[in-house]
Structures are given as structure tokens and as C-alpha cells.
């Protein structure tokens, strides 16, 4: 078996007395697409943020291609693990293109022409080729999130993390972002996605992880998870999200 591209071992994290993650372990193969599901407060987003150490944790280790991530080399980890946030977090004093080339220019020290060419290509790819000089205030939420995806891709990461990327969007804008995420997945990106979009999970995920109260309750391929959930807790959760009005 090959070395997993990402491995988490026994991650524990609490906020004060509140234990948010209680021993999370999983590993991920290259090009694998994992969707993490679970009720709010189950620790999904915290887990995602622990992967690139945006959140510190008390116990456990993160391994990238078999190598333990050292506290003093976090920027090296983060160069290889891109992240897309719920609230986009676009740099508000920069244009769309400037947002995308910021990482290549100032983290990777790429030369300017090369970075611009790459940035324009990526903006084209997310369908915003004509918006490259737009300021964030001139863009819709869906467009901002697509810029954010282009910005993450510009670093040529090994893995992309998505933290509820469509939760802050108006319903009519969700589709365009999911579309881009799907195309990124089809090009072979390794992805960990925290989302409530069940359709995306069904279509794109190789594996679904169901979390509740800080532990992984169940995991498996989406068709199995959605049709034959093994545990009571995942059954309950799925029945609620798949038919929210409760037939």
C-alpha cells in the first residue's frame, strides 16, 4: 500500500471545558475526495482547521505524505494544503487577480509575468476571466467564492480543504460554486469537503465521513452511507437532512 497523502492520528481538541474533537483518526489517499457530514457543533469545521493547523490541538498528529508536520514548519504544510472558507475571506483591498497571484508572488516568490499568466488562466477556469480587475465589493458571493477557489489553486496544493463553501451563499448562487468544485474534483485534486450539500456528496465523494460529538461515527462510500447507514445516529441525521420536512 502506498503512503497516504494525509493522515490524522488521534486528534483531541477542546475549547475550555468543551471537548470538540475526541480522538479523530483517518487517512486519505492521493486524489481521494472525502466529504465530512454531521450536525452543527459536531466538530467538522474544527477538524478541517486542525488539518492545516489554523486551529491548535492538544493531542494527536498530522502527517503529510507520511511525514509528521512540525510546529515550526507550518508554512510549508500550508503551502501544500489549500483552504476555501465559508466566508470567502477574499483580501478586500485587492482585485480578483491580485487575490489569486498573492500566494504565488509573495509565498512562492514566482516572477510576476508567470504569476499573472497563471492567475488569468485560473480565473478563466472558474469562469471569471472577465472579472480579473474587479474589486471584491463589485462581486457576488458566488463570484467571491470562485475567486477564493482560484486563489487556493494558484498555490498548486496537494490537497484542498473546503469549509462549508456554500453555506454563506444565497441559494441561487450555490450551483455555480458547486460546479467549480466538481470540475476541480474531476481534474484529480485530493479534497476534504465539509458541507451540507448532499447532492455534492453523492455525486463527487469517494468516501463520506459522518461525525457527531467530536468523533467519527461512521464512514463509507456515499451510496452505502446514504442508503444503508449502519448506526442509529447517522440514520437519524440523514433522514433529517434528506427530507427536512419529515415526510
Amino acid at each position: 500500500m502506498t503512503t497516504p497523502i494525509l493522515e490524522l492520528k488521534n486528534i483531541h481538541k477542546s475549547f475550555g471545558d468543551n471537548a470538540v474533537l475526541r480522538g479523530i483518526s483517518f487517512s486519505m489517499e492521493k486524489k481521494e475526495r472525502i466529504v465530512i457530514l454531521g450536525p452543527s457543533g459536531s466538530g467538522k469545521s474544527t477538524l478541517l482547521r486542525c488539518i492545516n493547523h489554523l486551529e491548535s490541538f492538544e493531542e494527536g498528529d498530522v502527517f503529510l505524505r507520511g511525514k509528521r508536520v512540525e510546529e515550526n514548519k507550518l508554512h510549508e504544510l500550508r503551502m501544500q494544503v489549500g483552504m476555501v472558507f465559508q466566508r470567502f475571506n477574499i483580501f478586500s483591498h485587492m482585485t480578483a487577480l491580485e487575490n489569486v497571484i498573492e500566494g504565488p508572488l509573495y509565498v512562492k516568490k514566482m516572477n510576476k509575468e508567470e504569476a499573472i499568466a497563471k492567475g488569468e488562466l485560473l480565473l478563466d477556469r472558474v469562469g471569471l476571466g472577465d472579472k480579473k480587475h474587479a474589486k471584491p465589493s463589485q462581486l457576488s458571493g458566488g463570484q467571491l467564492q470562485r475567486v477564493a477557489i482560484a486563489r487556493a489553486l494558484a498555490m498548486d496544493p496537494e490537497i484542498l480543504l473546503f469549509d462549508e463553501p456554500t453555506s454563506a451563499l444565497d441559494p441561487e448562487l450555490v450551483g455555480e460554486v458547486l460546479q467549480v468544485m466538481k470540475s476541480v474534483a474531476e481534474e484529480g485534486m485530493s479534497m476534504v469537503v465539509v458541507t451540507h450539500e448532499m447532492g455534492f456528496a453523492k455525486d463527487v465523494a469517494d468516501r463520506v465521513i459522518f461525525m457527531d460529538e467530536g468523533v467519527i461515527v461512521e464512514e463509507g462510500p456515499p451510496d452505502e452511507m446514504f442508503t444503508r447507514p449502519k448506526t442509529e445516529r447517522s440514520r437519524n441525521f440523514l433522514s433529517r437532512v434528506l427530507s427536512p420536512m419529515g415526510e
Binding site: N52, L54, H75, E76, L77, R78, M79, G82, M83, F85, R87, F88, N89, I90, F91, S92, H93, E102, G103, Y106, V107, A148, R151, A152, M155
Partner: protein, 211 residues
């Protein structure tokens, strides 16, 4: 009125000195203030504590007393400074404590999410500060800084107590020797008003440019 016209060169020289002290202590105070602000937000307790203490002391005591301590007090320990050095030092330390708080509120005004995104790209602390935080914080700080400049110009009149021949001191000398207080001090006030008004014009212009 005669006396004012005759001694106007002295008053203008005093004004120049007032501007000079204000400008110097503002620029040095800005450097100090940024440094202190970053220290205050540092994860190291000691650095943050030192910075807290400094701000606490210099914002909580009058500039005049600070100048007395620096100029007269320290001379008892054979630390003897010219009025110029003591004046710049005192006003810089005083300005630094206020500017540190201005800079800090500017930094805190930058969206935490954007800073997180910068870190998520792999940026180190100084790159994040320079590329993401500084440009946005600077914009936030612009107007409070102009206000600080106005205060500094007015506060510099206190330098007269350590014999710096700035505008107020010049006015005092002329008034005391001529016993003609009213026109002299009105002129002094007018000269201050001209200097602070220039700052306000600058502030309005900035406000319009920054939207």
C-alpha cells in the same frame, strides 16, 4: 499692535520650532507606536506586558510631568540632556503610547478571516503583516493620526516649561517684556490655529480620497 509686528519674526521662528518638534516626535512616535502595538499583541507574555506597562504609564500621566522627569529629574543622576533632546524624547514617548493604541485598533479592524486566509496560503507573520494587514490598517489609522498630529502641535506648547523656544515660549517672553499681553497671545493663538487648520484641511482631503 506695534509690538506684534515688530516681534513677528520671533513668533514665526517659534512656530517653525513648534512644527519641527511636532513633526519629529510624530515620525519617531509612529515608529515607536507600531513597534509597541505589535509587542502588545504578541503571544509572548513578557513583551506584551512591557508594552502594556509603557502605554499605561505614558497615557496616564501628564506630558508636563513626563518632561520634568526627563529634563530635570534625570539630571540628578547625571543624565543631562539639552532641551531639544529632552523635548523630542518626551514628546516621542508620549506620542508613542497614543499612536500604539491607534495602530492597534487599525490592526484589529482588519478582518480576522482575511488574516487566516493569508496564513492558509503559507504566509509567514511578517509577510501577512506587510501584504494584508498594513495596507488596510494604514487606511484605518489615517484620520486618527491626523488628529494625533493636531494634538501634538497643541501639546508642544508645554515644551516651554523646559525652556524650548517654541511658539508659546516666544509669546511669553515678548508679552512679559512688553506688558502687552492681549495682542501677543491672540497672535500666538492665531498662529496655532493656522497650523492646526492646515492639518484639518489635510484630514478633509484624506477623508475624501479614502471615501
Amino acid at each position: 499692535m506695534d509690538i506684534v509686528i515688530r516681534r513677528l519674526p520671533n513668533l514665526l521662528n517659534g512656530s517653525l520650532l513648534t512644527l519641527e518638534y511636532s513633526l519629529f516626535s510624530l515620525v519617531l512616535g509612529l515608529l515607536l507606536g507600531v513597534f509597541i502595538a505589535l509587542m502588545r499583541d504578541s503571544n509572548y507574555r513578557l513583551l506584551s506586558g512591557i508594552s502594556w506597562f509603557y502605554i499605561w504609564v505614558f497615557r496616564g500621566t501628564p506630558l508636563m510631568v513626563q518632561l520634568f522627569i526627563i529634563y530635570f529629574g534625570l539630571s540628578q543622576f547625571n543624565i543631562i540632556m539639552t532641551p531639544f533632546v529632552a523635548g523630542i524624547l518626551g514628546m516621542t514617548l508620549n506620542n508613542g503610547s497614543y499612536i500604539a493604541e491607534i495602530v492597534r485598533s487599525g490592526i484589529h479592524g482588519v478582518d480576522e478571516g482575511e488574516r487566516e486566509a493569508a496564513r492558509a496560503l503559507g504566509m509567514r507573520y511578517w509577510t501577512e503583516m506587510r501584504r494584508i494587514v498594513a495596507p488596510q490598517a494604514a487606511k484605518q489609522c489615517m484620520l486618527p493620526m491626523v488628529n494625533q498630529f493636531i494634538s501634538t502641535i497643541k501639546n508642544s506648547s508645554i515644551l516651554s516649561v523646559i525652556t524650548v523656544a517654541e511658539l508659546t515660549r516666544e509669546g511669553q517672553v515678548i508679552a512679559n517684556s512688553s506688558f502687552n499681553y492681549f495682542p501677543v497671545y491672540i497672535t500666538v493663538a492665531a498662529l496655532y490655529l493656522i497650523m492646526t487648520s492646515l492639518c484639518m484641511v489635510l484630514s478633509n482631503w484624506l477623508q475624501r480620497r479614502l471615501g
